[in-house]
Amino acid sequence: MKALLSQTMPLFNAKFFDLMVHLPDDKGSLAQFVSAADEFGYSGIAALDLKYNGTDMDQLPSGFSLFSAVEVSGKPSRLRDEIKKYKDTGDILITRGRDEEVIRAALETQRLDILLQPVKFNNVLSKLASDNSIALGFNIGSIIHTRGDDRIMELRTMRTNLKYARKYELQMVLTCEPYSPYDFRSPREAAALAGLFGMRPKEAVDAMSSVPLDIIRKKSPEYIQEGIEII
């Protein structure tokens, strides 16, 4: 029993991040989201289209980090230009994989960070993602908010994507995609939900801690290319 505890306890002693938080437009929502994320055990969040000012940053709990993310969408021809536009902004770039053409256009651009829940993923797209080191996103929120047929489809998609991610050694990211503070789930719950489509606890923990940290590191101004860094 003690041996089992020592195996599982350090697993969840990490810093967890949720990289896709939707903030509503009203004032004060950021503080609510931050306190909810902090209570659920997250060390940082990346909010989509974040418009923060100095006072917001001062109110953050100690050790909590706030990042900015952008969801890039549109027609495949415009998607490349959209991604290039955010090239040097330091925002985390996320594309939702609804359409195969959109997925392909997004994966061919090197600057993309996360491809969220691609619906028709295959070996060619996996190879592209692997070459351009783009992480594969798994949306836990879709399991929480859907029921019946829709949830079966979501779980089926995630199970297939997990197979490709393991085969092509793609980085994986888990997100609850919260639209309100009530949508957060703690990392242990997220790992349990990820277990429903076959993800191992170690993979789930990495998808919420080390992989987001790696993406954040790549977005820092000191980072140039893998292996090259300004000291």
Binding site: A36, E39, F40, I143, I144, H145, R147, G148, S180, P181, Y182, D183, F184, R185, S186, R188, E189, A190, A192, L193, G195, L196
Partner: protein, 127 residues
């Protein structure tokens, strides 16, 4: 007649906290919990999990499940997102082997940390 100790099934007790827009009563929570487990794992899965709400005070509660089905119970709890149209989120505080352990380790410790609302109000009035 009592079950023989060797045949008794091992259980685990999950201490949880409810974060909700409106107060939820015990009946609503039990219904929602069983619905969530049945939808996610089916009737067979629910019988294997063997869930039972041990105690609940409107905010904190203890849920019993089978020893080797804690992960599934966590997943089912996480899937509860709405009760009576109001948004809900359930946070598992910890798992223990006894009701007493779950209560002392996870729920009472939290209650000690949180200041009592009456005291807070009185201090505010004094100032």
């Amino acid at each position: 007649m009592k079950t023989m100790p060797t045949l008794r099934e091992k259980k685990r007790y999950l201490a949880f906290k409810i974060i909700s827009e409106e107060t939820i009563n015990r009946r609503e929570l039990t219904g929602e919990l069983l619905d969530s487990i049945c939808l996610l794992f089916g009737d067979t899965g629910a019988s294997e999990i063997n869930p039972s709400l041990m105690s609940y005070d409107g905010r904190y509660g203890i849920l019993r499940c089978q020893k080797d089905r804690t992960s599934e119970t966590r997943a089912a709890l996480a899937c509860i997102n709405k009760v009576r149209g109001g948004r809900v989120s359930i946070m598992v505080l910890g798992i223990s082997g006894t009701v007493k352990g779950a209560m002392e380790k996870f729920i009472q410790q939290r209650l000690v940390k949180e200041p009592e609302p009456d005291k807070e109000l009185q201090e505010h009035l004094n100032h």
